[in-house]
């Protein structure tokens, strides 16, 4: 199985550590991983702004770069959802497109007890991962109550303390271009999510979507809150 690693543009630009952790994690598990260096941005920001019609350049380019792989893996649920929903119309498309935690759980690679992370950690269930990719159970849906993929990966990390939240899947308020179009509201939503984490004793917030975490980190820094954000790959694959 040949994996094509998709590192979304903002992770490449601002959070290289997440890309490195993802790559090392996959290699540690013995996968053959390739990172096509010609990758740019999947086009989601344009589409969510109402310009889906200009995203064919990005989609075609993405498909050309990744067509030779069996699986496309990425540490970002939202970008994966977008790519998944748009690549399906490409003729010849056969690749499996998976968010990292989803991929690891499906491969049965859930034992990270060799890693220690002695902190209180709260999980941010990003909306696109949760309701779009079904990486966990949404509180709206009756009868869904299994652990999310990220909890399956984190629960046996040594010394980790996973905390619960009052509203486990309320939106953090990022929403891509929404954060710029409705800044006051977006920040308020972020603040309210952060209050939930603080109230429940979290020291670290982790998740499947670095973009939501980037937004929360921005609010944390602006307000000097006693919290930090980390993508889950950085917890289970520490240097």
């Amino acid at each position: 199985m040949k994996i094509g690693l998709f590192i979304p543009c903002y992770i490449n630009q601002y959070y290289p550590g997440v890309g490195i952790a993802t790559l090392k994690l996959l290699q540690k598990h013995g996968f053959e991983v390739d990172y096509p260096t010609g990758q740019t941005c999947c086009g989601q920001p344009l589409a969510n702004s109402g310009y889906e019609r200009y995203t064919h350049y990005a989609i075609n380019h993405f498909f050309t770069l990744f067509r030779k792989y069996d699986v496309i893996v990425s540490p970002s649920a939202s970008c994966i959802l977008f790519v998944k929903e748009h690549l399906k119309f490409q003729p010849g498309h056969h690749q499996k497109i998976q968010e990292l935690s989803d991929f690891l759980v499906e491969q049965g690679l859930t034992d990270y007890s060799g890693t220690s992370f002695p902190k209180k950690v709260g999980v941010l269930q990003s909306c696109h991962g949760l309701r779009g990719l079904h990486l966990g159970s949404s509180t709206e849906i009756v009868g869904e109550n299994g652990d999310s993929t990220i909890v399956k990966l984190l629960h046996n990390v040594s010394d980790i303390q996973l905390i619960g939240l009052d509203r486990p899947d309320d939106c953090c308020g990022f929403g891509g271009t929404f954060s710029v179009k409705e800044p006051a509201l977006s920040v308020k939503m972020g603040n309210d999510r952060l209050d939930d984490f603080i109230r429940n004793g979290a020291e670290v917030i982790t998740g499947t979507d670095m973009s939501c975490l980037m937004h929360l980190e921005g609010v944390i820094k602006k307000q000097r809150m006693p919290l930090e954000v980390m993508h889950f790959s950085e917890i289970i694959c520490q240097e």
């Binding site: 590192i7 543009c9 490449n12 630009q13 601002y14 959070y15 290289p16 550590g17 997440v18 890309g19 490195i20 990172y35 260096t37 990758q39 740019t40 086009g43 344009l46 589409a47 969510n48 702004s49 109402g50 310009y51 200009y54 350049y57 990005a58 075609n60 380019h61 909306c127 696109h128 309701r131 949404s138 709206e140 849906i141 009756v142 009868g143 509203r167 899947d169 309320d170 308020g173 929403g175 271009t177 954060s179 710029v180 179009k181 409705e182 800044p183 006051a184 509201l185 977006s186 920040v187 308020k188 939503m189 972020g190 309210d192 937004h215 980190e217 921005g218 609010v219 820094k221 602006k222």
Partner: protein
């Protein structure tokens, strides 16, 4: 013209009120979760409801005629209104024919949509809203901020004040006392009105009957005392068979307020002796929506308001920030059909979190429709800058240059970048630029 962002920001200025509003609605959402989860087959019920509505809408012409035929057989007078004006005229004609100068109403979002109250008042008719929330809103000359809980944006204190002004009583916040005063006040109208109007929650094609759900019993008080009952319904409120009713009644109140069923579920089949029932079937743009792919699913809506209660945008910015009769996620996909320019900001007033679609009892793909509206709303004009941005995404060289450039500027003149992205940086910091990008690191390590 103020769009959602401006109205939202205004609402957000009063943070303690915002928090209170958010918590109140979240509490309703939690109640919904609790009672919904008591039904093991909840998700199957949602599937069934969605399918029944899709079938109804796909064959609406036939079901409407079947309904009309059966309603006529039952002795109901059926009227057809192509738009709001026709609807209002019909109501006025019925009132005039009975020499009535007063109309007691129960809750109806359709009459809000048609602007009925203003129209009747212009014609000298006194309109009395008998749903308590609606009565308060009417007194305050406001519009409902929620389709099920119209006065949810008001606190007990606000309500006590308006009661004191209108009913000349000592100001109180005690809900028991306030309800008692409302009861005395409204009872007078119930006793004396000739004509009462209700909305319709469901109309059943194969029986020619209709159902009105309320918690206060005010609809029943009104119509049972009056000689004439006018019922206004949107044409999408139809269901084919009486046996389908159970599916919807189980979903409606649970989704709306977390009750197993509304306190009153009143079935109307035929007028009592010497009385009349006039039922008005209103289109007012619905058949146009029905003809639009993507968007016709929005007509499945049973107006439970669950999407509002769960929506973080609605909870934190209030119903009035949508500036449309139907607020919240469902309002945001209905409003642009009325006026894509005036309501153009609504489909963007969403983080596309999808919670609305996940609670919707009839499974309307609200988030997908918000996304589709965004495409539609920008569709008229071609945008050269955006088209260029799109093009750059297939040119890694150009794209990398742009990204590098931004990093350099962010390091050299961070304050300028902050100002450039000021709508982002006002409440948040931009992430720090790291020593190298992932791409650079990868190239060095392979």
């Amino acid at each position: 013209m103020k769009g959602h962002p401006e109205l939202a920001e205004k609402f957000l200025q009063d943070e303690s009120r915002t928090n209170w509003h958010d918590e109140t609605l979240w509490w309703v959402r939690s109640k919904r979760d609790a009672v919904a989860s008591e039904i093991k087959d909840w998700e199957k019920l949602r599937d069934a409801a969605s399918q029944i509505k899709e079938d109804t809408l796909s064959n609406l012409d036939e079901y409407l005629l079947e309904f009309e035929q059966n309603a006529l057989k039952n002795g109901i007078k059926v009227h057809w209104a192509a738009d709001a004006r026709e609807h209002n005229e019909i109501v006025l004609q019925v009132l005039k024919s009975k020499d009535a100068w007063q109309l007691v109403k129960s809750k109806s979002m359709l009459t809000e949509e048609c602007g009925l109250n203003d129209f009747l008042e212009d014609h000298g008719i006194e309109v009395i809203e008998s749903d308590l929330g609606e009565r308060i809103i009417q007194w305050m000359k406001q519009t409902p901020s929620h389709i099920v809980m119209p006065a949810i944006h008001l606190k007990k204190k606000d309500i006590g004040k308006v009661f004191s002004e209108k009913l000349h009583i000592r100001e109180t916040e005690d809900p028991v006392k306030l309800t008692e005063f409302a009861r005395i006040h409204l009872r007078n109208y119930f006793m004396n009105t000739k004509v009462a109007l209700t909305g319709v929650n469901f109309a059943v094609a194969d029986s020619g009957t209709f159902v009105v759900c309320t918690n206060e019993g005010n609809a029943d008080m009104g119509v049972h005392m009056a000689d004439v009952h006018i019922a206004s319904m949107g044409i999408e409120k139809l269901i084919p068979k009486i046996e389908h009713l159970g599916v919807f009644l189980r979903l409606l109140a649970r989704s709306a307020t977390g009750q197993p069923i509304t306190a009153y579920t009143s079935h109307f089949r035929k007028p009592g002796k010497g009385k009349e029932i006039h039922l008005i079937l209103v289109d007012n743009g619905r058949s146009e929506i029905l003809g639009k792919s993507h968007f016709w699913h929005s007509l499945k809506c049973i107006r439970c308001g669950a999407c509002m209660n769960t929506c973080p945008i609605f909870r934190k910015t209030g119903g009035h920030s949508y500036d449309y009769i139907i607020p919240g996620p469902i309002g945001a996909i209905l409003a642009p059909h009325r006026d894509p320019i005036k309501y153009g900001s609504l489909p963007f007033a969403s983080s596309l979190c999808g919670s609305c679609a996940a609670v919707c009892p009839v499974k309307i793909d609200i988030d997908k429709q918000l996304y589709a509206w965004r495409q539609e709303l920008t569709g008229e004009k071609s945008s050269l800058p955006v088209s260029f941005m799109g093009y750059v995404l297939k040119k890694p060289g150009l794209f990398n240059m742009g990204s590098k450039g931004l990093s350099i500027l962010q390091k050299l003149i961070p304050w300028m970048i902050d100002r450039f992205f000021k709508s982002y940086t006002r409440g948040r910091e931009l992430p720090k630029v790291p020593g190298q990008t992932f791409k650079d690191w990868y190239k060095k390590h392979t």
